[in-house]
């Protein structure tokens, strides 16, 4: 009973993080902040979902269930390695192409900044190669 409630709590927390990830991916204004949302929120919510699954499987103890739970732990570990690595690779590619980044418009005037970048962002400019 307690473990069931624990499963529900963990999974609902994971769902909340996934909602936050989705909002971030849809609503954030530029590429870098979207990668930020995906890299952190997605990994954490996946970990929580799979953690809930592990708790559910471990409810009644048997060696088969232990083996399955061990495999799930392995999955969590490798997602924890692979997913941030993937976002790192994406952001590296974007940085190499100088994808324009977003700045707050109030900070725009009067401060030193990358003017070309701001112009690009305003005009919706993206490197040609990245649109293909």
């Amino acid at each position: 009973m307690i473990s069931d409630i624990l499963v529900i709590i963990v999974m609902v927390t994971g769902l909340l993080f996934f909602v936050a990830t989705t909002v971030g991916i849809i609503r954030f204004p530029d590429f870098y902040s979207r990668v930020h949302a995906a890299g952190k929120g997605d990994t954490l919510s996946t970990t929580l979902f799979l953690g809930g699954a592990i708790l559910f499987i471990m409810r009644d103890f048997s060696w088969d269930a232990m083996l399955t739970a061990g495999k799930l732990l392995l999955i969590v570990f490798y997602i924890f390695i692979a997913s941030p690595t993937a976002t790192h690779a994406i952001i590296d590619a974007g940085y190499e192409f100088r994808v324009p980044y977003w700045t707050r418009s109030s900070d725009k005037k009067g401060t030193e900044g990358d003017e070309a970048n701001e112009e690009n962002m305003d005009n919706g400019f993206y490197p040609e190669d990245l649109k293909g």
Partner: protein, 126 residues
């Protein structure tokens, strides 16, 4: 307590959020934005497969697929990143020169392969 309705609700909720993420795949202004959306969809696919397994009652049969996804998922993303690193290098301006340039051969050799060179014993084995 019967948790099956909870898992079904959870699976449908995750799918609905995946549908929202699909917006980034369809509309994303650049290719790497799309890549990001596909990455999120791929990682959540692993969760959904585990949930389907739990609902079916035989998770141990579904877990291998999930492990395969966990290990393979970032190959596509990595390939896209590598692709952009390669084409960010400007092509030689003189195509005639590039057509016959034999210097391209040795240059390939020393790009990024110090491990291969420093390790001649393992070169022979697959």
């Amino acid at each position: 307590m019967n948790l099956e309705p909870f898992f079904i609700a959870m699976a449908v909720a995750i799918l609905f959020l995946m549908l929202c993420n699909l917006y980034r795949v369809v509309a994303g202004p650049t290719v790497i934005d799309r890549m990001l959306g596909v990455n999120v969809i791929g990682i959540k696919t692993t969760v959904l497969i585990v949930l389907i397994g739990i609902i079916d009652g035989r998770v141990e049969m579904f877990i291998d697929i999930t492990l395969a996804y966990a290990l393979l998922n970032f190959i596509t993303t990595l390939a896209a990143a590598r692709f952009y690193q390669r084409i960010s290098q400007p092509a030689p301006s003189e195509p005639e020169e590039a057509l016959v340039a034999p210097s391209a051969g040795p240059e390939v050799e020393d790009v990024d392969a110090p491990e291969a060179a420093s390790d001649p014993g393992r070169k022979e084995t697959p």
